[in-house]
């Protein structure tokens, strides 16, 4: 030990700096910075990319203080269940304070990636005007901005390479934001505006594409018609990643023929998505590019019939990532299983969210995929029904899952064949898949499944639970067993105070815990908050009058509707709205 320490002291800092340059993963860098003070110091001055998984775990000042050479920041805001309307609208996660602080400190920000954050037009304007070298903006599942904010980005960011908008709620002001890219802008490599609802100036779009010779990724929104797509493809045959806009036209028209020819010329397209408004009879135009595709997203095309999908997929022999709707059916999944031998990630989304509708996919499709696709390691599967036998078979066929998310459309449905809970099936999954890091369970489940998860899921980092378990024991099995657990989210399950308070120190090893419609009481939450000052324990109340009145009305013995707790270095947040009460 002594010798090692003295050897390390002889390393000049420049050498360490150079060595650390090779460390790109933030986990590696975090580990390295814990070795000793010297390494901590060298590392922090050399780190350019910072990832913050919970924006309330630290604050902008501490970030800037520690990493003055920051160039690329990734931030996540709201808890995951916010995606499903479980978190009230103004809960928080505003990015403005971060941008403001970085601007004031003259950080040379080049990249900003945000997920589930509130982004105002004001923040976008400040961003656009404060960082002359700004290159890349990626917004995923964010809200709060309009196309005016996008116009500010387009107008001011002279070296913009990437503008990637994924599934954001954007208010469309019809201000022709796209026309705001100046004629001098030729640096775009990636442009994704598929989630925008309004029209764009197609002439400006065509000119933009024509002058950005490095453009590799382009995803259009549904207002861009097929005629324009055709013209764009003629201008940009070098594209790697294409998201079509509307894909419907008379297949007998000249335009369609031109499109087919343009597509034949696009030899580099490896990723295809869009089809936001599609006529199945136009699909054959993409067959030529199917053979080289590695990623395909048809999950926004509910109008495609199962056989049309199957015919398309039949050409996609190299697919590694496939996102699709359950309209494909079990039979269609059979075609995938027979064709897509390179498949690694599959997501099957539900097409019918509002009515009774058709039974779309069942355990059959999943079993077929597991048998046919040996490289499968990540799955999200919404299904009508499931059986233990099927899950056991899947576990045997695919021991390499790192992400396994199963959602039965009826959240408490039992095994369709035996009427038993699905405990054994999920148990087989965790036992077989030793590298599993993310798991979502559903269907009828008892404490037993959590016993299995605690016993076998040693690498598990994120677990999502809904309508499952019988008692506190279930949650305890997980907390005691899963040593690497970082995020636990639970809704509508009978876990209460005993489980919550059994190992309070555990929560400091995790990023966050969400519990809604469970059995935890206000008193227990208060106890936890008192004993663990480095956790923020938030009670989210949706009663009228806000938490102020709620405080008066809620008794310690009352159950808490929504609790979100997370470790933090900076104490209770100052921007919490009325209905959020940090204990």
């Amino acid at each position: 030990m002594c010798m090692f320490q003295s050897v390390m002291n002889y390393f000049p800092e420049e050498v360490l700096d150079h060595v650390f340059d090779f460390l790109t993963s933030h986990r590696d860098r975090n580990a390295v910075s814990l070795v000793c003070k010297s390494w901590y110091s060298v590392e922090r001055f050399s780190r350019e990319k910072v990832f913050i998984g919970n924006c309330y775990a630290v604050n902008p000042e501490r970030l800037i203080d520690r990493f003055p050479r920051l160039r690329s920041l990734s931030l996540k805001g709201k808890p995951h269940f916010a995606d499903f309307n479980l978190v009230p609208h103004d809960w928080g996660g505003r990015v403005y304070p971060w941008i403001e602080a970085m601007a004031k400190s003259r950080i040379n920000l080049e990249e900003l990636r945000l997920k589930r954050m509130v982004v105002s037009d004001e923040s976008l304007e400040l961003l656009a005007k404060s960082f002359p070298n700004f290159k890349s903006l990626v917004l995923v599942s964010c809200e709060g901005f309009t196309t005016d904010g996008l116009a500010a980005i387009a107008s001011n960011c002279k070296f913009l390479r990437e503008l990637d908008l994924q599934e954001n709620e954007v208010d469309d002001r019809k201000g022709h934001w796209l026309s705001c890219f100046p004629e001098s802008c030729t640096s775009l490599v990636s442009l994704n505006f598929a989630c925008l609802k309004g029209e764009v100036n197609v002439a400006a779009l065509e000119r933009l594409v024509a002058r950005c010779r490095n453009l590799r990724s382009l995803r259009l929104n549904h207002t861009v018609p097929l005629e324009v797509l055709q013209k764009i493809l003629v201008q940009a045959p070098q594209l790697n990643d294409l998201g079509t806009g509307s894909f419907t036209h008379d297949p007998n028209s000249e335009t369609y023929v031109k499109l087919k020819n343009a597509m034949k010329n696009c030899h580099s397209i490896r990723s295809l998505s869009g089809f936001l408004d599609v006529n199945g009879r136009c699909l054959p135009a993409v067959y030529p590019i199917c053979t080289s595709l590695t990623a395909l997203n048809l999950s926004y095309a509910p109008g495609l019939f199962s056989n049309e999908l199957a015919k398309l997929i039949y050409h996609c022999k190299k697919i590694e990532r496939l996102w699709i709707l359950d309209t494909i059916g079990d039979k269609g999944l059979g075609v995938v299983a027979n064709t897509c031998k390179e498949l690694q990630e599959l997501r099957v989304f539900p097409s019918d969210l509002y009515g009774v509708g058709n039974a779309a996919v069942t355990e059959e499709g999943l079993v077929a995929i597991s048998a046919g696709c040996p490289k499968l390691n990540s799955i999200l599967y919404f299904c009508q029904q499931m059986t233990n036998a099927a899950l056991i078979t899947v576990a045997k066929n695919c021991p390499n899952f790192i992400r396994f998310r199963l959602c039965t459309l009826n959240p408490v449905v039992p095994d369709a064949a035996t009427n038993q809970p699905l405990d054994e099936g999920f148990g087989a999954i965790v036992q077989s898949c030793k590298g599993l890091t993310r798991l979502s369970v559903s269907g009828q489940l008892t404490d037993q499944v959590f016993l299995y998860i605690g016993m076998y899921a040693e690498q598990l980092e994120m677990l999502s639970i809904a309508f499952a378990g019988d008692s506190d024991k279930g949650m305890l099995y997980v907390l005691n067993g899963c040593k690497k657990l970082k995020k636990l989210e639970i809704r509508d399950s009978p876990f209460g105070n005993m489980a919550l308070l059994s190992d309070m120190g555990k929560y400091e090893t995790m990023r966050s815990l969400w519990m809604s419609s469970c059995q935890v009481t206000l008193g227990a939450c208060k106890t936890l908050a008192e004993k663990m000052p480095r956790l923020n324990v938030e009670i989210i109340s949706e009663n009228e009058g806000g938490a102020g009145e709620g405080e008066a009305r809620l008794d310690d013995r009352d159950r808490v509707e929504k609790m979100y707790l997370y470790r933090t270095l900076v104490g209770p947040r100052t921007d919490a709205p009325d209905f959020v009460w940090t204990l």
């Binding site: 936001l276 926004y300 056989n307 009826n410 008892t446 809904a466 059995q519």
Partner: protein, 204 residues
């Protein structure tokens, strides 16, 4: 929602499967679970009768009741698909000779004649029919048999206003051109009936 006593807990233990409802030992039908979530009428909160406990939990999701945030799909995706489905829906009127009222179906929901036939079977088996002769025949499977058999002839009105026999053209073409469905009694389908029965059986 009252707290269950230990007595009740013992009673339930050996019987049906649990639903994981908060409160642990309470066993309820799934529809009641959802209703509680939506804070619907208080009558649903009463303890389940022994009769209800015998019923098995079906795999089919409840028709209208929605659990908040389930299935877990991003709002963006939900909203986008909703808009697209509304735009793409192909609702048409369906009349069955002898039924007291018409129904509407969205043809885009189905992938084949068989699926449509089954859906229609479910739909009309639940209508109450005045005419006792027809009532006995209104079980789901029987209706499907009927539709495929010779007593009823499924016809549709196309874009041009002509009445056509269901089953001649590929499914997708049918969805595109069908404006209205009428399931006729074969006695009315004069001249078509013998061939119609043949074709229907082949399509099944």
């Amino acid at each position: 929602m009252g707290m269950e006593s230990d007595e009740n807990r013992l009673e339930y233990e050996e019987t049906e499967l649990r639903l994981g409802l908060p409160g642990g030992s309470l066993k309820r039908e799934f529809s009641q679970t959802i209703d509680l979530k939506l804070n619907l009428n208080a009558s649903m909160a009463s303890p389940p009768s022994p009769h209800q406990q015998q019923e098995k939990i079906t795999a089919k999701p409840p028709a209208k009741a929605q659990v908040v945030g389930w299935p877990p799909v991003r709002s963006f995706r939900k909203n986008t698909l909703a808009v697209q489905s509304a735009a793409a829906a192909a609702f048409i009127k369906v009349s069955l000779d002898g039924a007291p009222y018409l129904r509407k179906v969205d043809l885009k929901m189905y992938n084949s004649y068989q699926q449509l036939s089954e859906a229609l079977g479910k739909m009309f088996s639940s209508s109450t029919i005045g005419d006792c002769g027809v009532k006995e025949l209104m079980s789901e499977s029987k209706l499907i048999d009927l539709l495929n058999g010779s007593d009823y002839v499924p016809t549709y009105q196309d874009k041009d206003g002509d009445w056509m026999l269901v089953g001649d053209v590929p499914w997708e073409m049918f969805v595109d051109s069908c404006k209205r469905l009428r399931i006729m009694k074969s006695s009315e389908a004069i001249g078509l009936a013998p061939r119609a029965a043949e074709k229907c059986k082949n399509r099944a």
